[in-house]
Amino acid sequence: MDGMLPVTTKPYAAVEGIARRFPGLTVFQDLWFGIHRGEFVCLLGHSGCGKTTILNILAGLDRPSEGAVVVDGREIDGPSLDRAVIFQGHALMPWLTAEQNVAFALSCRYPSWPRQRLREAAREALAKVGLREAAERKPAQLSGGMKQRVGIARALAIQPKMLLMDEPFSALDALTRGALQEEVSRLVTELGQTAFMITHDVDEAILLADRILLMTNGPEARIAEVVINTLPKPRIRATLHHQPGYHELRDHILDFLITRSRTLAGKPPPGWDPRHPPEVRPAG
């Protein structure tokens, strides 16, 4: 898995012209994008452009006012075990231990598994995120980073076809966040996992994503640009900023977030094709 775009094939998941409207307010509209197998796509934008709603629609937890999401050739009509979600707040059940939280997810995926098998699989999943020792602990006895690791273990344990992440690291301190980003990067690369992530952190997007979708500010938010991340993988946080092209990429995205996300907001320019927003390769 080289992480480059298989542009010619049909995407695994396709978002087709979705919109979210309230009476008198359009949060976003005419959103088209695809996520290919093995690809890591980041959606980057300011708060208020409907990022979380988009992720919830992909997860099947929410429905668009218009348009549809097609996954594996079929329009989705609800949540599925094939699309695991890592929530912003870890969303662990506080009355269950770390192991039981993962085992609960596994028991939904594999209802026929006996208890012992669920336990072992849960322990294995926790070991993969470095939590072998903390399996018996309740979430209240875990640090913020450890809780999110359990959330990651729970999502990956059920072997989803696509991983959906809603700003999974935003509640963590910078040090923990960095460590977890690298961990997710490693796991996703190892598994060849298809992933979609919402974020407002530029460095996080550069570290993880193959493609970065840049959203204008709401209301009437749209995808203004698709940034192709050509930096080679695996990307290591410690050396990433020495890579040639890194600064061009980062500056481009920052410029977008600071000014262009605002100036491009509202009515699209004439000749705008919402299905094919411009693609750019700032890193060369």
Partner: protein, 283 residues
């Protein structure tokens, strides 16, 4: 928040207060009996009450007499010599049996119903007026209706226990279920957990502490109400026993009954508190 005090200091103070109360009481009763002398005509006194006949001495027993009587009662708490002479243990057992029956019945109905009300905003809104009107009604107000329809007095008192303990459990269950975190439900949905698995593995444990709080309030109310209900319907039970001792004017027995009712109520509350601790969770 008050600062933590060592257990033994509080315990010593409690014992001192108890001792002061008992000594004061003993002296008040003994002193009043000795010096005051007969305040009323002896013949009239004999008609009025046995205590007055005993030389104007108050019917209020001293703690020492109550203690002796307590030992006597507790030496054979489960005796049965006819319908009007049964041990205090038997009477408490009758009351506990009625509370257990009424409370269990209430839990069997209130918890599933509260679950449904908590899950459905429509049902919640529709049933709320009924609950709000019926909840503040004194359970004893149901008694005549229960006696008329059920006829059996013992079953009627169980019904009264049922009706008074159903509301806190119903309201707390509905509230607990309705306030389960959206994110946990979303986790269950993305895992395709299904209705039953979500209900039993997510909603029930999430709401369990709130449900247990409702059960704890209910058992407290049930124990309060059973005494009054048994005073009304008579026959058996600690409430009936209190009323019987009032008719006999054996104040010592009434004081003992109060103590017993208090201790059993405490035990019931502790029991539910233990259950609540078993299902408690913290974030």
């Amino acid at each position: 928040m008050a600062a933590q005090v060592p257990f033994w200091r509080a315990a010593v103070l409690s014992l001192l207060l108890l001792a002061a109360l008992l000594i004061g009481w003993e002296m008040a009763v003994k002193g009043a009996g000795g010096s005051a002398g007969p305040a009323v005509d002896p013949e009239l006194a004999a008609l009025l009450s046995p205590a007055a006949a005993a030389g104007g001495r108050s019917a209020m027993p001293a703690p020492s007499e109550i203690g002796a009587r307590l030992l006597e009662l507790l030496s054979d708490p489960f005796h049965r010599r006819g319908t009007n002479d049964q041990g205090i243990g038997i009477q408490i057992a009758y009351s506990l049996g009625r509370v257990a029956a009424g409370f269990s019945l209430a839990a069997l109905i209130a918890i599933p119903l509260g679950f449904v009300i908590g899950m459905s905003p429509l049902l919640n809104a529709a049933l709320n007026p009924f609950i709000q009107v019926l909840r503040p009604v004194s359970p004893l107000a149901w008694m005549p209706l229960a006696l008329y329809t059920i006829k059996d007095s013992s079953v009627s008192s169980i019904f009264v226990i049922f009706i008074c303990s159903v509301w806190p459990m119903l309201i707390n269950t509905a509230f607990g279920v309705a306030s389960v975190r959206r994110e946990w439900l979303n986790v269950a949905r993305t895992l395709e957990a299904g209705t039953w698995r979500t209900a039993f593995r997510v909603i029930l444990p999430a709401a369990a502490p709130t449900i247990l709080t409702g059960m704890r309030i209910s058992i407290g109310i049930a124990w309060l109400v059973i005494v009054a209900a048994e005073m009304l319907v008579g026959g058996t039970g600690i409430g009936y026993w209190v009323w019987n001792q009032w008719n006999n004017l054996s104040i010592a027995d009434i004081v003992i009954a109060i103590l017993m009712i208090g201790l059993v109520g405490l035990a019931l509350d502790r029991l539910l508190a233990l259950a609540a601790r078993a299902v408690a969770w913290q974030e």
